[in-house]
Symmetry: C2
Subunit: 166 residues, 2 copies
């Protein structure tokens, strides 16, 4: 489990697989400039070390009938650790809630939700979220349109940073 620092080839592998997770290993090897076997070994190592947490197909939510995306700012009455984790557990159990982040500042949590239509979301909001114990305030914002939605991290920023630190 050596926290082996990644070399440039490893970072390239991660960047390529983040951009196209279904690339064949031979294509990946070609792009990063080594032969297929060591490339595959590196990928396996990156997976086992946790640098790669999984692979996912990116599906078109709207085409599938999820017309509505909502950000919800949630404030809790009590911020005791037990109450925070209780709320987080609730969020993990709600399928409509895709993301839940604890924030500093005024609100305690921000939730990103996906729902088939507005009434589905309203039903969730009034029937589930607002009736949850310890939830003091909820402010929802409907997504009018999405301008950018890139998964993962910007590897070019990482490379710039490493170049300057070197």
């Amino acid at each position: 489990m050596a926290s082996t620092r990644l070399d440039p080839i490893d970072r390239k592998i991660l960047a390529e697989l983040q951009a196209d997770g279904r690339m064949t290993n031979v294509e990946l090897a070609k792009r990063v400039g080594i032969s297929a076997p060591p490339c595959l070994r590196r990928v396996r190592t990156l997976e086992e070390a946790g640098y790669i947490k999984g692979y996912h197909a990116e599906v078109d939510a709207r085409e599938l009938g999820f017309e509505v995306q909502v950000f919800a700012s949630v404030g809790l009455a009590s911020q005791a650790e037990a109450d925070l984790t209780a709320f987080e557990d609730r969020c993990r159990a709600w399928p409509l809630v895709r993301e839940c982040h604890m924030l500093n500042g005024e609100v305690d949590f921000i939730l990103k939700c996906a729902a088939p239509d507005l009434s589905s979301f309203q039903r969730f909001l009034t029937g589930e979220l607002l009736t949850t114990p310890n939830v003091a305030s909820v402010k929802t914002s409907l997504v009018i349109r999405g301008a950018k939605d890139e998964p993962g991290v910007p590897f070019d920023v990482l490379e710039e940073r490493l170049a300057s630190t070197a």
Copy 2:
């Protein structure tokens, strides 16, 4: 490009590939209950029809040195369409900005940003975002901890919905 309604097998394929985008086609075929060739044909069709927009490795941002995640609420001075798209174009050009959504309500946009550290983000905030023309207000919220971060859509919700509509 018939907007062919998806049958249960197609939906299962999408659900499986969303959960594990690197599953082999034979494994996928086994899970959805058909043989490999038609399964692959379906996957290709789903890709070409745009139901699958891509495949991505999920990388561990923190392990890679992106310690900081920030939500930024942005208000613009002018909401004329040209000004909105101008701002969206800016967001698309900033690598630190991973998501940009236009919202209803008080704020105009919410941005999800990833940065190696706080000073990187501050540099972006003061040097880029705040100096952008037409940006009237920015309120940033640091993510203290992430409780849930599921990519994609909840297919179980979709199935429930189809069951009730049927």
